[in-house]
């Protein structure tokens, strides 16, 4: 677990909402360049785990370390993708303008986008096959294209670790296949993806690795082993008891 290839290390991570436990003593390592699904019943702490990694949840105990011994990974950048329903799709904004937002953190507030920034934006738009729709308002896109706009923004950010909250929710079959295809090619390019997924079948089909939660860690590792009948029973039964 503490090999140099572990880009994200959680040790004994414990989070509470008021008095209610949300995550209890989670210790897990995420290998660099892996596709990992965070699994579990509703209220198991999937979104909370993502928020804890982003540093939005105070930890009662434990710590989270990002980065590994590899010099290029000393300070990896995190990109977070919101759930689809959190976005106002009627907002007057074009695809390109959303992807450009990925460059904002690297710019001082009064600097315009430079040539290098625009190039990164163009590359992100091209990689996610949004070139033909880049001047469209975001409502006039298919569900799959809409999801890809926000992946492109994360790419333009130059992120190394992608944290996704239910990326497949609300997507139709074709869009789900498109997104699966993108994740597979990202895996080949060594990008690290960590996604909260509630659909176990989909997780089994798309993600090689899984982390199964029921407020505490039930299992982690290769997806087939994580989603064994015994583990699922434990996670989902404890989940119901806790809820």
């Amino acid at each position: 677990m503490h090999s140099p290839e572990t880009i994200l290390r959680l040790r004994d991570v414990t989070v509470r909402y008021g008095r209610n436990p949300a995550l209890e003593g989670i210790t897990v390592g995420i290998p660099c360049g892996s596709l990992t699904a965070i699994l579990g019943p509703n209220g198991a702490g999937k979104s909370t785990l993502l928020k804890a990694i982003l540093g939005w949840m105070p930890l009662v105990r434990g710590d989270i370390r990002i980065g590994d011994a590899h010099p290029q990974h000393a300070l990896p950048r995190l990109a977070y993708l919101p759930q689809r329903h959190a976005i106002d799709w009627d907002f007057p904004i074009t695809v390109r303008a959303v992807v450009e937002q990925g460059r904002y953190p690297s710019l001082s507030p009064w600097r315009r986008l430079g040539g290098a920034d625009r190039e990164r934006v163009d590359r992100a738009i091209a990689e996610l096959d949004l070139g033909t729709v880049s001047d469209r308002q975001i409502c006039r896109l298919s569900g799959g294209q809409q999801q890809r706009v926000f992946l492109a923004r994360a790419l333009a950010q130059g992120a190394d670790i992608f944290l996704l909250d239910e990326p497949f929710a609300g997507l139709d079959l074709i869009a789900t296949e498109e997104l699966t295809h993108i994740f597979r090619s990202w895996e080949k390019q060594g990008r690290t993806v960590l996604a909260a997924v509630h659909d176990l079948h989909l997780a089994r089909a798309v993600f090689p690795r899984g982390v199964l939660l029921a407020r505490e860690l039930v299992a982690e590792g290769e997806i087939g082993a994580v989603l064994s009948e015994e583990h699922i029973n434990r996670a989902f039964r404890t989940g119901h008891l806790l809820l």
Binding site: L54, W56, L78, A79, Y80, P82, A86, I87, D88, F91, P92, I93, T94, A97, V98, Q101, Y104, P105, P109, W110, Q137, R153, Q157
Partner: protein, 297 residues
């Protein structure tokens, strides 16, 4: 012909009070047009409306204590606005009442208190003046406040354009990249209160928000880009102000009401005829689809 046009459009502005009124309305169109876009896109339109009503007792008390001092009026309005916002936040957390009901109830209480207070004051200015505005009353001090609040709003929008865009469009992403959403939110509310106070003379407390919301929601029906929505909203607010002030002069109606009516006409026409987001297009498409379905049956 030319002289008729000149009598209608130019002659009214030979009067000093009309020039003051026009200048003040144009200055506030700039800030109102910008702020209105954020309020509309963040779905704060009704809250802004409630907030504007709740400023009245603050203005009444300040006026009672300090007379027509612009600073005092602004301070009073700000305190009343903050009390309403904080009070409703507290009520919704400490009781069973939800935030919208808490806000709605508090603004009614505040507005009632304001009306009671102002109607009991022995004053030259009547209550209607505070509620609906009067172009006759724009003083040099009012003009200075309008210029200052307009300039401040423009500077904030130029300086923090990206933060305002991100906080309006995707507050979660804004936070993820280290943005200070709470400060942006509070800043927008404070600028709204400041500009409402500055609009008190021309527009009145009840109609002041019309100069913010109506041009913004009209621009929303036409624009698919944020920066274009901002520019169109400002342009519409200015056009509506000029038209409204002329209407006010010729028809002898309160300036706030006539400006709101002109802006309202822009909005209603756009809501029907905007090609991409208007009702007429939707209805036409619906009829076309049904005809097509009937033909193919």
């Amino acid at each position: 012909m030319l002289s008729t046009l000149s009598t209608f459009f130019i002659a009214p502005f030979h009067y000093g009070f009309m020039q003051h009124g026009l200048l003040s309305a144009l200055l506030l169109s700039l800030s109102g047009g910008l702020l209105g876009c954020v309020l509309v896109l963040r779905r704060l339109a009704l809250m802004g409306d409630a907030l504007s009503h709740s400023l009245l007792p603050g203005i009444g008390i300040a006026w009672l204590l300090f007379g027509l001092s612009t600073t005092a009026l602004f301070a009073g309005a700000l305190v009343a606005g903050l009390l309403t916002a904080l009070g409703s936040a507290l009520l919704s957390r400490l009781t069973r009442v939800k935030e919208d009901s808490a806000f709605g109830s508090l603004f009614l209480i505040f507005f009632g208190a304001g009306v009671a207070l102002l109607s009991r004051l022995p004053t030259r200015l009547n209550l209607a003046h505070f509620l609906f505005g009067s172009i006759l009353g724009v003083s040099n001090a009012d003009l200075r406040l309008a210029a200052a609040s307009s300039a401040l709003t423009l500077l904030v929008f130029l300086g923090f354009y990206r933060s305002i865009l991100l906080e309006t469009f995707d507050p979660v992403f804004h936070r993820a990249i280290g943005g200070h959403g709470g400060i942006v939110h509070l800043g927008i509310l404070a600028l709204t209160v400041l500009n409402l106070v500055a609009a008190l003379q021309t527009m009145g407390i009840v109609l002041g928000l019309g100069l913010f919301l109506l041009p913004a929601v009209t621009a929303y029906l036409w624009c698919d880009r944020f920066e274009r929505m901002l520019s169109l909203s400002v342009a519409l607010a200015m056009a509506g102000s000029v038209a409204g002030i002329l209407l006010s002069y010729h028809a002898g109606v309160a300036s706030g009401a006539s400006i709101v009516l002109c802006l309202g006409a822009f909005f209603l026409l756009s809501a029907i005829f905007s090609p991409n987001h208007g009702a007429a297009g939707k209805v036409a498409a619906w009829i076309r689809d049904h005809r097509h379905a009937a033909d193919t049956r």
